[in-house]
Symmetry: D2
């Protein structure tokens, strides 16, 4: 029995002290939608001893909240969450924020990241009598927070969890923001008309005209209540390990992370890539939109013309029907169409942020070939993905990662490209202007900042299977 499935990329948002807390959170989630399209939710509160109000549902933010839902979400405090999952097993039950009643009153939580000791904690909690309704890590965290450990129990609870987590927690009197000691996932603090705002990315501040105050530090616990904002640093200090893949792909280009704009980093990655793997060509085309900035940097560095030869269909949600009588590569083609005459007879460099399985990249190359491109050179603005992510990004199993299984030459061959070039780790790091030691690079180099002992989890799962 599969009791527990890791959660994946998500976005969190929170408001403290604004008459329209729910509406602001609705806007904020809108701006964070790229971090999770599967479900969305908001929990609001008015103050101690008044019931929290919760509305969560499957779907995009624009589908989940109707006018009457926002009307029902009364209160001056709110936390919100968007959740991403590629799997079908995800259900309404697992949608966040979760909300429970505990010995300390009501509590709600939204979580972005992934706990590496989830199975151990859950097993321990169940043995002590806890019962679980969902399969998301947030519920484990809530159980820990509710344990009767004396006064500073929230901090005690938090110290038990390991892995990646940016959390927003709403209690009866306060909203708490937490970033794990490694700082895997982003979390920032903003200010708007006397109210405080927390958001996974700064692009959400822009939308609501909030002022970006600062990033929450790795290992920082920010407590916002009627008295203002204060911080605690309850964790042992750890090395930094910000997820490099946020810069490469995941974050929105208009966000600022560690004082650097994401688009700027991506453009710099494109330049580094051009220097590492230059090529003589007539045209650089991005795979939009994730490849746009790197492609532009690449084109500028080598002074090759740039063009939007791939046209992105504006109406691609994640929910279109894939009829059984499927047109060959429909789901790849429907998203992007190629302007054939733009590439016909040309030597084309196609730039994307990353290659995972390789199937989409291959379809793009076939596309270009069919359109008459004379040469096709694939350039990727990060190093090959060879390892699993245990910190909240949902890659396929390593054996499905093309770079885990094959040499570069084999990959080039499979894609049908004339040449292939990946950015290397030093170049990628250079593009950020920061030190390599600040980053998690595990999916690229296999060095995991927080150890994951697969045996522990396996042992627990087996015990469970035999238990009943």
């Amino acid at each position: 029995m599969k009791h527990h499935k890791p959660t994946h990329e998500c976005g969190v948002f929170a408001v403290f002290g604004h008459p329209n807390a729910a509406v602001l959170t609705y806007y904020g989630l809108f701006a964070l939608q790229h971090r999770g399209q599967e479900s969305a939710g908001i929990v609001t509160a008015t103050g101690p001893n008044t019931p929290f109000v919760r509305h969560v549902d499957m779907g995009l933010v624009s589908q989940v909240f109707k006018a009457e839902d926002l009307d029902r979400l009364k209160g001056t405090r709110a936390i919100g969450h968007v959740r991403y999952s590629t799997t079908g097993s995800s259900t309404l039950l697992n949608a966040q924020p979760l909300m429970f009643s505990t010995g300390r009153g009501q509590i709600a939580i939204g979580h972005n990241g992934n706990l590496v000791n989830a199975a151990v904690l859950r097993d321990e909690l169940e043995r002590r009598g806890s019962i679980f309704q969902t399969t998301v890590d947030s519920e484990i965290i809530l159980h820990l927070l509710a344990q009767p450990n004396g006064t500073s129990s929230v901090l005690a609870g938090l110290r038990r969890i390991q892995g990646a987590y940016s959390l927003v927690i709403m209690g009866e009197r306060e909203i708490i923001g937490v970033r794990d000691p490694f700082g895997f996932r982003p979390l920032s603090l903003g200010k708007l008309e006397g109210a405080w705002v927390l958001s996974s990315e700064t692009c959400a501040f822009d939308l609501i005209h909030a002022e970006f105050v600062r990033e929450i530090e790795p290992g920082e616990v920010v407590i916002i209540d009627e008295n203002g904002v204060r911080s605690e640093f309850p964790f042992r200090q750890e090395r930094r390990a910000f997820c490099m893949f946020e810069y490469v792909y995941f974050a929105r280009p208009d966000s600022i992370i560690s004082d650097i704009n994401v688009a700027r980093v991506r453009t710099a990655m494109g330049r580094e890539l051009a220097r590492l793997h230059p090529v003589e060509a007539d045209l650089v085309v991005p795979v939009p939109d994730s490849g746009n900035y790197a492609a532009l940097g690449f084109a500028e560095e080598l002074n090759i013309p740039y063009n939007h030869a791939f046209v992105r269909n504006h109406y691609i949600g994640r929910t279109f029907l894939q009829p059984t009588q499927l047109i060959r590569d429909f789901n790849v083609r429907v998203k992007l169409n190629l302007i054939k005459e733009a590439v016909h007879g040309k030597r084309v460099v196609v730039v994307d942020d990353s290659i995972v399985r390789g199937t989409t990249a291959r379809a793009r190359v076939v596309n270009l070939r069919e359109a008459g491109a004379k040469e096709v050179h694939m350039r990727i603005s990060c190093p090959p993905h060879r390892h699993a992510c245990h910190y909240g990004i949902d890659f396929p199993d390593p054996e499905k990662l093309i770079a885990n299984q094959h040499t570069l030459e084999k990959i080039r061959d499979y894609l049908g490209a004339d040449s292939i070039g990946y950015l290397d780790v030093p170049g990628m790091v250079r593009a950020t202007g920061q030190d390599e030691s600040k980053f998690c690079l595990a999916c690229f180099n296999g060095k995991y900042p927080v150890p994951v002992d697969p045996n522990v989890d396996k042992f627990i799962m087996e015990r469970r299977a035999n238990r009943s």
Copy 2:
């Protein structure tokens, strides 16, 4: 903050060992629909270490389950639940059966009744670190069952709860039926093609052609697993206290309880009522459908003609819109219309099962008067309701019970009837053919079989309010 709202009348059903467990449960809930129209749910299982499947939603059984839902509910075991609530605060979250994962594996539960020590238990559990997502008693029971109390922990958990409860519980290896030691709510065992069936009422067995085996005893815990059915009696023996109001009103007339058909009891109540409060009249009319059998008994006893002068609209659900531009007494009239000429110029006895607030009864009398009835005699087939029920029937607050506030003469006057007559406790008991000591009669006589200490609960609630 209102953390906890008592649950009310419900119906439970279970199947063990049938290839179509979900479909049978669907049928069973259909037959138990009168016990709860607010939400319906089914949880199925295939055996140990395979995931339980759950489908619950707000609405009638016919609305909640679509073909694909029943298809998804795979397994040879199932428990089902229909839930009733008059309040708007009831939500999907509280719909049953509840399903959780615990240290002993998955567990699901459906509950009919009301715990009198819910607040105490919940408070204690929360202080020990339990967190609650719903406000229904079932979640408390699940937490108790999940506590690490050694071997016979299910029984240990059950011993902690006080009040009225007929439960169906599904674990990884078995289905358990429990009836509280007082036997407040009904629960019966049936058999169908080698499968075992549990149901709140026997009318559900008729629908699925199951054989009615026997009633579960008060205080009995029936465990059904691959080895068959066995019973435990883990509770201290208590006096019997079957809810008399099930006979009077709640149960379906075609059910059998304590070996007596409910319609027969109701007819006998009508006869007793006729003997106690005879009247010279031209016509007996029931308030359909709950007054039908008593009216018939009354008419036969006094040899007065009987007629269906009130016509019941077949399409009355609980969900029709009540436009703001409301027609006077629309919601009363829409359910029953009076055939005026049937009562015009006649001395009419109108028989109903009970009077709660008095507003509906009054509307009926007004109706009869307007139609030209010469005399209107109100007869009620149970004694006046003067006290609250703490065991799962959702009466209004005592101060809203008309008989709690007013003398018989005042009630007659308010209703505008020429005479009024309630059945008395001895007559009501006689109609059942059983001994008075077997029954709970608390809402009639104020003698509560299980004590309810309002102070305890009040104390806890206050502590909670101050806590955070």
Copy 3:
């Protein structure tokens, strides 16, 4: 190609001159719900040159109209419609009232009945260039009303149609009620606070506290506008032919038709039946609810005890799921359950209004036998159904009518009853207190008041099939 499917039983309602026209119509349709459960609709208007508002949908009245729908239905005039269809092909497109724009302005129509010359009219209209979007007769009538025939064109249009029709029509300046010259279907006029009301049945007046003024005459066209009510009689006079089956089964028992209450007629039918086919028995049980009054009359006439041995499930809509893994006779059993002990060992007379295919009646007899009834005597309060209805009641094809195919003895044998007795035509007519010449009795005796030439229709349909 099946261009045209006859429409079937429906209910119509209209209000002229009331600020809450839509709400009143909503109530009215609620009371007429038994005449059609498939779709419901309302069209409202405020006066000339303002747009009509329409809301129609599949489902019961309670499902079709939400608060915001009624809010949108502004105006002091309204017509409403409930539609019945047993076939799956019925769709939203065919839901009424229909609403069109014509050379005379906007027009909306609701129709109860069936045109016998629909195919001829439609063919003629299509040849003249009309185009049709629905397959309901109402659209044909609207086309006729819109033809440019000079001044009195509405009446000219109406003169072209043949068959059964009670219509409510809303134009820009008036509401028109029409009853066909034979008077097949009921239609009555009421009054409420200065507003005028039209309804298929009088039971709808009771619900809204409207005063029943009079029945619309066969062949009468009632025009209600700002100046009041006036009548025209544009049709050649015809014999009367009120549908007897309205008294027997279709109309609600609390309605008044031709100055007689329907329940009274049904009770009298039961008495006539008792005189025609008396039997020595211990118990009379109705098949509820359509058999209730006849059963009561039967029981009283022969002085046999009466009991509600069949219990009707209150939650039977027409929409419950019939799982593929079907329990034997589920759809028959789920509606009524038998109280076995009420009939065990007894000689039972079971009374219903009519037998169509015989399958349901047979299931009831099997039920009674299984419960241990010593004898089962089937009594039916109308004569055997041997012929099709072409005037708006949806019987199965004649070859599926059990009485069309088999002798009484064969029917009795098939049902498994000890005896069977149908009421005869004279007794049925006597029960109404009216003259036989006033009625359509075609489905009983094959004498069709309005001729139906099947060849004409067949010819047209064939021409169509070959046409394109």
Copy 4:
């Protein structure tokens, strides 16, 4: 009363002779989604004398069609439609394709364009007895096609209509494609595995791997049936008047119109614009996505760096909620966010395709200013819009067009830009490589290829208002 509202931009698609006609049409509509996001529909047919199947609903293609809908849409022929409307009054009733039954059998139609003599035709038809259910031009066309005018009646009907129309019509035996004699709207023919395909734009062929055969000629009627494709040219020859705005904005950049790729035309417009209104600047930024190609052309021509400083939110549908507590310019900001540091301290040229009201353009300039741009130069890749479009593009009323009301200097001032430059007509035409005489340029220069006599329509509307 507003009987008639002009229809606006739409997309049409058709398939003849493919086993998966509905699925191909579904794909085709997906690729045409930018031409209409309000409703979508498909009608399929199997051959003569079998019923057409229709599924239409409000919403995007991905929302309208579920797997079961496509399953129901059986047949080897299909026509599809996407419809755009900015107004709230648009309803399901008006969704296309329309489907009716006529004297010639079933017929369905999808229409892109706008008739200029719709009111006259409708008035005439209504006077002859036609009745209308919708307010879309397609119903008028169907009525005309259904008139009994002798043999070549489809062509006779088509000759009556004036204005812009690209039509797909499905009869019982054939699919017909029509392009009005002026050729306002695009329509192309494609081929796929022996089946024929019609589409508003060629980008839909790419998606389904269909081969682009040729454009339908202005004034051509293409009839596709079992015998293949044949053409008729029933109209008087007219001057060409292809809508220039399709090149500028409406069509997808990957489509080919008149043998030229749309993106290429747009890039050339950007170059022309750069030559006409050069500027010294540090950065060119497009208003994505409609400004992308022109911006690129502009940047290349003047050799100024280009960057995606505006980031487009991928999840902007047309259906997001705009809470009443609206954040200033939310609906403008939510679509695009600006990367502030990318423009800070720079002289920025911002390029968009067109300015209508000016409010959005102004918000972009404010955005750039707030981000610290040193100079903001607005460049527009078409001439100022000063006149209404009567041929199917839904501009606001002329008095709301900023260029209709104000001088260039006033516009610049209102926008807050340092300079403003529009492309001129000659440059725009040059960018297409075609002759000016081939185009409709009415919204730019006020020269209407097909006269619109507002008096005629006004007269009819008044007569209507007085009629009833």
